[in-house]
């Protein structure tokens, strides 16, 4: 790494080397049985240069000669985007706990047993269900060094337990599922099992629903599958800079319901999206996005922030390419109404637990539309069963402008979002007639 940096410095004004080594062990179960054990190791080294004011970039997965990588980056430099930022120098990084050495103590046998117990618990509830599950443990070590004196490295451990089940009766299929992630090992299958059996209980029988606008409760999974993609896009500093975000001129303005607060947080201990700094060495922070309905901040990396005359929020994230703004953990603040009080309030309505295809709509405009993969009908204040062949469509901004209520319990979905249930007074529902 140091060799790459020193060679790069000879030809460039500034340079940065980013290296990740990761190792993970996923244990996969298919059709209720153990199917495959994997070991995945990867090493990648990325070089970013600033030369004649322009950015060059090259990445190597696996070993590469330093001069080859430097040459590749130099070749792109002459056509690269003008650099508006300097690499950060040495910084004080927050102390965030994201490594648990206990992960190393978990054996493959432990992981196999955990997966088997989880599947057994679900099958005990519903014997005809077919389950897929995976138990994954791993760790990653990240190092960033640059010509301005930054030298940062950290280790992260991670563990994930997930289950997906399908119950087929004739041509009817019911999909259920849940996952849990942490930097700690997950040693107990019960949290995932309880959520999946709750879904199975509520979906026990199918009921029909009307085609018309009606009140809707989004469960935490429902919020994640229907509403988050448009918000992530709208709060991306790049989209704001392009003028394509509907929130571009809304900073400081009341756009959402005053009960609604949303923030990004890379500093939560033992959350898989947490880290002491982002992928370009900017210290991690908590960034308010919506404060009681008022748009407060957008998410930035170094280059985008410089173009927008603001500061990076420490959200520069790489996926095999240059850093780009990307949320860490998103948190929606809890409200004060219980889930069952929301249900009680509804004459005829829908609970959305999983929406399929919502992200295919015009998310820039906040539109979402999708098939209710898992959803329940509420009638006379009670959940009466599962709805099928039903589409919903709406607009995130219209929906979140006025919320009936926000749930008082929050839950993590997929390790990246913590949210309560959201209850809205009206959403368009279309269903197959007969």
């Amino acid at each position: 790494m140091e060799e790459i940096l020193s060679q790069a410095r000879k030809i460039a004004t500034q340079a940065e080397v980013f290296q990740v080594f990761s190792k993970s062990t996923p244990v996969h179960f298919e059709a209720d049985r153990l199917k495959q054990i994997q070991t995945k190791e990867s090493t990648s080294t990325a070089l970013r240069l600033i030369k004649n004011g322009k950015i060059g970039f090259a990445q190597a997965n696996g070993s590469i000669k330093p001069e080859t990588l430097v040459n590749m980056a130099t070749e792109t430099c002459q056509f690269g985007a003008p650099a508006k930022f300097d690499f950060p120098g040495s910084k004080v990084y927050p102390q965030i706990d994201i490594f648990d050495a206990q992960i190393d103590e978990v054996t493959i046998d432990n992981m196999v047993e955990l997966g088997e117990q989880l599947i057994a618990a679900i099958k005990q509830h519903t014997p005809d269900i077919m389950c897929e599950a995976s138990v994954t443990k791993g760790n990653a070590s990240v190092r960033i060094i640059n010509s301005e004196g930054a030298k940062v490295s950290y280790n992260k451990s991670f563990f994930d337990l997930s289950l997906g089940g399908v119950l087929i009766q004739d041509d009817d299929m019911l999909f259920v599922g849940e996952s849990q992630s942490s930097c700690h090992p997950i040693l107990d299958f019960k949290t995932v099992a309880e959520e999946v059996t709750r879904q199975l209980e509520l979906a026990r029988n199918n009921v029909s629903i009307s085609t018309r606008p009606m009140p809707v409760i989004f469960t935490p999974r429902g919020v994640a599958s229907a509403l988050i993609a448009p918000l992530v896009t709208a709060f991306n500093g790049k989209v704001v800079l392009d003028g394509a975000s509907p929130l571009k001129n809304k900073q400081g303005k009341q756009v959402f319901d005053e009960k609604f607060s949303l923030w990004d947080d890379a500093t939560l201990p033992y959350q898989i999206a947490s880290c002491p700094c982002d992928d370009e060495g900017v210290p991690s922070q908590q960034t308010p996005l919506v404060d009681h309905g008022v748009v407060s901040h957008f998410l930035y990396d170094l280059q985008t922030a410089a173009l927008a005359n603001t500061q990076s929020t420490g959200n520069g994230n790489r996926q095999g390419s240059l850093p780009t703004p990307c949320p860490s953990s998103l948190i929606i603040e809890e409200g004060d109404v219980s889930f069952w009080d929301m249900v009680k309030d509804i004459k005829e309505g829908l609970i959305i637990d999983q929406l399929m295809g919502a992200e295919q709509g015009n998310i820039l405009n906040g539109d979402f539309s999708g098939n209710v993969l898992l959803g329940y009908k509420v009638e006379g204040g009670k959940i009466t069963g599962r709805v099928k062949d039903t589409m919903v469509s709406g607009n995130v901004y219209q929906l979140l402008r006025q919320l009936e209520a926000i749930g008082r319990e929050t839950r993590w979905v997929g390790g990246l979002l913590r949210t309560p249930c959201l209850y809205c007074s009206s959403l368009s529902v279309a269903t197959k007639a007969g």
């Binding site: 994997q38 087929i168 004739d170 062949d389």
Partner: protein
């Protein structure tokens, strides 16, 4: 290399072992509006070992390709922890072959400066259209050399080229945002993305027109799908259901997807095949060393075949179809589609519209996903059909339905097959895999359309 891999494969007690090594170079260029966002190069070297012992699999992936023998040992050890029954794996001829990549104008022969100039031109066309707020352009090309060897003696070197271009025009007015995209791809032929100026200008103008278009009223309609969207339908709604890994361990699903079941009228034929040449999903051998085929999934409305890996074929007592594909060396091969299309029929587009009183014409692809029985796919453009004629432009719509009823509700198949090469398929965390989809225009009765 052949000897090296052969040595590493020797002396282990497993029912089957394979090694895959991959070397690749890729170039990426991204524009956002007039700003060149990124121009970067990636070079990769890595590999994997997969071992089968008593029906259980071990898989090891790595970037450090030294000490292959140790990696084979680890994969076998992991497989042994899993395996508790008999391995079922279709035997195939151990092929020894070298496959070269051929393209009329390879991306690596085009200087970076020329690539950038072409994209600049496209970007200017979009951005100079009135009411266009911004654009996104993503260009990607790659060349890969994949070396495959297995314990039965196969040794195959395949060289592959891939190229894709996606352009999006984003129009805004009074807080409204609308967009239209165009996706293209080929097996490394740079010609396919040249000379698109007219098409791109027209795309940008359509994005602007969407700003003043109303939204569809949600409900059930007779819909006509253009070739692009119908191709997505073939891929999403039916293709995934034909992937045997969804079916082979699932008795109930086997009852539903039983070969010989009638799904539609005699006019419907759906095909998948890597052996259909010159398309983005074409190849000579899959990632288990099985030759690519051309497979009728539905012939004359009846389910005839499904897509297999060597394992799913053996477990279901059917023939491998050469559909085991891995995105790259970090993943084991799984059952995937290649080039999937609905065969053309005889109905003209005009005739298809002529007896529709009120319906919707949906065009172009924006995305699609499926959960076996249920599918949703999004059209980028839609028009009302009124008394047999196209009428008003509508905002993009999402279509959704149950596969089984929708297939039987297809009542007309056009005579105008077109293949779309801009797609990338995702499954099991492996995305985007190069595929192509296609179809002529088709008409579906009673389809659910999302809307107000």
């Amino acid at each position: 290399m052949q000897d090296e891999l052969g040595d590493a494969l020797k002396g282990h007690s497993a029912d089957y072992i394979e090694i895959r090594l991959e070397e690749s170079q890729a170039t990426r260029i991204v524009y956002r509006g007039e700003r060149l966002e990124e121009i970067g190069k990636t070079s990769s070297l890595g590999g994997n070992v997969r071992a089968l012992v008593k029906g259980g699999w071990g898989f090891v992936s790595f970037n450090d390709i030294a000490k292959l023998q140790d990696k084979v040992e680890l994969a076998v050890k992991q497989a042994r922890l899993v395996g508790k029954e008999n391995s079922k794996f279709s035997p195939t001829e151990p092929i020894v072959d070298v496959v070269t990549a051929e393209a009329k104008k390879e991306p690596r022969t085009v200087p970076l400066a020329s690539k950038k100039q072409l994209l600049n031109e496209y970007s200017d066309i979009i951005l100079s259209t009135p009411k266009i707020q911004t654009s996104n352009i993503g260009y990607y090309d790659s060349q890969r050399k994949i070396t495959f060897a297995n314990s039965a003696g196969a040794y195959i070197e395949q060289n592959k080229l891939d190229l894709s271009l996606r352009l999006t025009a984003i129009a805004t007015e009074d807080g409204q945002v609308q967009q239209i995209g165009l996706s293209l791809g080929s097996q490394g032929d740079f010609f396919t993305i040249e000379g698109l100026q007219g098409q791109i200008r027209e795309m940008a103008q359509r994005a602007v027109r969407l700003l003043s278009a109303p939204q569809a009223k949600g409900g059930e309609y007779t819909v006509v799908l253009d070739p692009v969207l119908a191709g997505v339908f073939a891929h999403e709604a039916f293709g995934h259901l034909s992937e045997a890994d969804f079916v082979y361990e699932n008795k109930r699903l086997q009852d539903i997807m039983v070969l010989g079941r009638k799904f539609s009228g005699k006019h419907l034929n759906i095909i998948d095949g890597a052996a259909v040449h010159g398309l983005r999903g074409s190849y000579k051998y899959d990632d288990e060393g099985v030759p690519g085929t051309k497979t009728y999934l539905i012939r004359e409305g009846i389910l005839e075949n499904r897509l297999h890996s060597r394992e799913t074929a053996a477990k279901m007592g059917e023939k491998p179809t050469g559909n085991a594909r891995a995105l790259n060396y970090r993943f084991p091969p799984i059952v995937r589609m290649t080039n999937t299309f609905i065969e053309p029929g005889s109905v003209s587009f005009e005739d298809m519209l002529s007896d529709i009183k009120e319906g919707i014409y949906v065009k172009d692809w924006y995305g699609g996903t499926t959960s076996l029985e249920m599918f949703t796919f999004s059209a980028a453009e839609a028009y009302t059909i009124h008394n047999g004629k196209l009428a008003e432009l509508l905002r993009p719509v999402v279509l959704s339905g149950n596969v089984f009823t929708t297939l039987s509700n297809i009542d007309a198949i056009g005579n105008d097959l077109q293949m779309n090469q801009g797609g990338g398929c995702g499954k099991g965390g492996q995305s985007p895999l190069p595929v192509s989809n296609g179809s002529p225009h088709i008409r579906i009765r009673r389809c659910i359309v999302g809307g107000n």
